[in-house]
């Protein structure tokens, strides 16, 4: 017995030792992963170096530099060195990723082997994508369940998980946690200054801190930076604001539509309440805020101009860059909830606290079915998301790669790159809580998604601009949704929506 144990122990030590030796070797050659060295796995640096793809060319269409664009190009360069393949990368702005992929697909072509996009493209482009082969799925043991679900359509995985996204609240710690500010706020309003638990609180605090210099930098600050420009992303901001009012665990079977009848729910009192809140928000955004795109929101909150922001990670990460004036003064929390949620079965409000994270879509990537280089393509994607690369990527804010694997939710990962421990803990806790929530909203991924979302964006924009009242605006949207359903075929939409609803109702 003793000898066996001794031998196996020695073997393990040697194995680990040799792998450690490998880890250092790759870390030296590729500075990107110098901190961790190569991490063993099916697609580690070590494994890739054993492959020989010389003579093969891989074409990739990805997002603009740097968000997703830079890591794609960087990993492409590394992949070229390791395997001898030639990798050509082109970059496309976010709004055009869809058409850049779909126009050729619909014409029966696949000029790109790999296409990047948003995860809510899945229903439209899955018929042109090659499903992820089982051996890759099997080694995705660390990817969280919700992200596996987002990457798949039912049982088949079409999109390779390389990123995870969600909306969450960001706030200025130097105000919210500041005892002097807390006193002042309490004295003036009689309420507690704390991380807002509801959108109404959010509005009150944002209004209070709107239009004066509360951080002493000589510039005026404002309440909140939000994506209000009627472009591709504004409707996500709206859904984030409405999740708490409309996603009721007591009424499963649909958030955007009633699954059974396919009646649009978009103009129910929950959504109208959220839109009313949003119209009021126009009063506490910076000048020009009604025309803010995501970039402006990042500039604004990341540059220290507002108290709050809530949407993708980018603003938070920008704020946490070492040279940012507000580094380590920002905090993360769940999206505000509400004190009432609409119950559509009862036709009345349920007066109870309600919160629902919105798993808004993130970056997604697929391999074209017609690609002649699927083997190289999947290896590249697996390499992209391998242990070492992933850990290095999530620490570099501008890369746009955000946590979606269990190991990411450990505070050490973030303190290692210089985040304040409290900030790091808050961040990972927020993310982990969202993963654990049972009252989640997933993005709409049905035929005609873009038409539905575009109609909503138009309606919401009209309300924000004061062209229509919130109720009238959403009624218009509901009517448009009905027209779209008729065109697309309500049954088609229902079949697709059923999958999303199953995810939300925790049946998948």
């Amino acid at each position: 017995m003793k000898l066996k144990t001794l031998i196996s122990t020695m073997a393990s030590v040697l194995l680990i030792g040799s792998q450690a030796a490998y880890a250092d070797k790759w870390g030296e050659q590729f500075p990107h992963i110098a901190a961790t060295g190569d991490i063993p796995g099916m697609c580690s640096y070590e494994e890739m170096s054993k492959k020989d793809y010389s003579g093969r060319t891989l074409t990739i269409n990805t997002h603009a530099i740097p968000v997703m664009g830079e890591p794609t190009a960087l990993h492409a360069e590394q992949f070229e060195k390791l395997t001898g393949a030639k990798v050509e990368v082109t970059h496309t702005p976010a709004g055009d990723l869809y058409s850049k992929a779909m126009v050729p697909f619909q014409a029966g072509q696949a000029p790109y082997d790999i296409v990047f996009g948003f995860s809510n493209f899945i229903n439209d482009w899955k018929r042109y994508l090659a499903p992820v082969p089982q051996k890759y799925v099997d080694q995705m043991t660390d990817v969280t369940a919700s992200h596996i679900a987002i990457a798949s359509w039912g049982d088949t995985m079409y999109q390779y998980p390389v990123d995870g996204d969600r909306h969450y609240l960001k706030y200025r710690k130097d105000v919210i946690n500041n005892p002097k500010m807390q006193q002042k706020y309490k004295a003036d309003t009689g309420k507690e200054l704390r991380v807002p638990q509801t959108w109404k609180e959010y509005a009150e605090m944002a209004t209070y801190f709107n239009g004066w210099d509360w951080d002493g930098d000589g510039e005026l600050e404002y309440g909140s930076a939000e994506v209000m420009k009627k472009d591709d992303l504004m409707f996500a901001a709206f859904y984030s604001r409405s999740a708490a009012y409309s996603k009721n665990e007591a009424t499963p079977g649909g958030f955007f539509f009633d699954l059974e009848t396919m009646e649009p729910l978009i103009n129910n009192p929950g959504f109208v309440e959220a839109l009313t809140d949003w119209v009021e928000a126009v009063n506490y955004v910076p000048p020009g805020g009604i025309n803010f795109g995501l970039g402006d929101e990042i500039n604004s909150f990341g540059g220290g101009q507002t108290l709050f922001s809530f949407s993708w990670d980018d603003a938070f990460v920008a704020a946490m860059q070492p040279d940012s004036p507000i580094a380590n003064q920002v905090g993360a929390a769940q999206l505000p909830g509400a004190n009432k949620v609409w119950n559509r079965t009862k036709g009345a409000w349920d007066n109870k606290p309600n919160q629902a994270p919105f798993f808004v879509w993130g970056w997604a990537v697929g391999v074209a079915e017609k690609s002649k280089n699927q083997d190289v393509a999947f290896d590249y994607l697996c390499f992209f998301a391998n242990g070492a690369n992933h850990q290095a990527d999530i620490g570099i804010g501008r890369f746009g790669v955000n946590p979606f694997m269990e190991p990411d939710f450990k505070a050490e990962v973030w303190t290692d790159i210089g985040w304040d421990p409290l900030v790091a803990k808050e961040y990972v806790d927020t993310l982990a809580e969202m993963e654990a929530s049972t009252n989640r909203v997933f993005p709409l991924r049905v035929p005609g998604t873009f038409e539905f979302n575009s109609a909503l964006a138009t309606g919401a924009a009209k309300a924000l601009a004061g062209q229509l009242s919130p109720q009238a605006a959403l009624d218009e949207v509901a009517a448009e949704w009905k027209a779209i359903l008729e065109r697309v075929g309500a049954d088609n939409v229902r079949d697709a929506y059923a999958i999303g609803v199953a995810m939300e109702d925790n049946k998948l």
Binding site: D96, S99, K230, D232, S454, K462
Partner: protein, 287 residues
């Protein structure tokens, strides 16, 4: 003139144009009769359903026409007036006229897609220089967030970019005017003002009409400016027809419907422009 020669001149260009264009145009018409969209990329045949939808259920499309007319006519008018004035001034007797001529040509050489981003930063209400400068006077107009001012912003950018176009055409025209009428006017002792009204302007009438028509065509396709500056907003205040078609086509991927809208747009534009051309000819040539 010999029968053969005239065709020898015309046909090479005409054939190339038709040859390359014939397929896309027919395809567009065919597309408009189908229900091609992202989840149904088939050239099925749904008859004139798209057209019916366009004419009866889509007030947004027609509203966009009104906005488009307003924007296009205003910008072209301004470009014409300013362009003509500038061309006239740098035509002769001014110092550094060659420098000014080159300088005034430059705006139209910038790529709209990129230049408009610069304008966006320029008009940016919190971080841009325009409001920074105006804050000295105590005003911070919401250039891109109010429906009225958003239109003004677009007009400003368009005028900046394309006045050079008018300027060049009109300057070239001025430079090629015959000298005789001017000599005659000088002999008659006409003032500069009279010279302009009775000699310069009428002689420039044909070029003016051509320039205005071309600019109207191009201005109607306003896309990059609207897209980058306001995304058609706030609300739908600056949504023009081609922007709407773009949204329907490449964002919502309702290609069949977008083709319908485009074809209708084409017909409406052809009719309007023919009318405008005839009216202009009557008005300007009469003098």
């Amino acid at each position: 003139m010999n029968f053969k020669h005239k065709y020898a001149f015309l046909l090479p260009g005409l054939i190339v144009l038709i040859g390359i264009l014939i397929f896309p145009i027919i395809f567009t018409v065919r597309l408009s009769l189908s229900g091609w969209n992202s989840y149904n990329p088939e050239l099925d045949f749904i008859g004139i359903k798209n057209y019916i939808r366009l004419f009866t259920e889509d007030p947004r499309f027609w509203q966009s026409f009104f906005r488009l007319s307003f924007l296009a006519i205003t910008t072209v008018f301004l470009q014409y007036v300013i362009g003509f004035a500038l061309a006239h001034v740098v035509w002769k007797d001014i110092k550094f006229k060659r420098f000014f001529r080159v300088l005034f040509l430059i705006p139209m050489m910038t790529t709209p897609v990129i230049m408009t981003v610069i304008w966006r930063t320029f008009f940016h209400e919190s971080l841009g220089p325009l409001n920074d400068f105006l804050s000295i006077f105590g005003v911070q107009p919401p250039w891109l967030s109010s429906p009225g001012l958003a239109k003004v912003s677009i007009i400003v950018v368009e005028v900046w970019q394309w006045t050079s176009f008018m300027f060049l055409l009109l300057l070239a025209g001025l430079l090629s005017l015959p000298k005789e009428p001017f000599l005659a006017a000088a002999i008659d002792g006409a003032s500069p003002f009279k010279k302009f009204i009775y000699v310069t302007f009428p002689l420039m009438a044909p070029i003016s009409i051509g320039a205005i028509i071309i600019r109207l065509i191009e201005a109607s396709k306003i896309m990059d400016t609207v897209f980058v500056l306001t995304s058609g907003g706030p609300g739908t205040a600056t949504e023009t027809s081609s922007f709407y078609i773009f949204i329907k086509g490449l964002r919502e991927f309702q290609m069949g419907y977008a083709a319908t809208a485009s074809f209708t747009y084409l017909i409406v534009m052809i009719i309007s422009l023919t009318i405008i051309a005839k009216v202009l000819t009557k008005v300007l040539m009469k003098e």
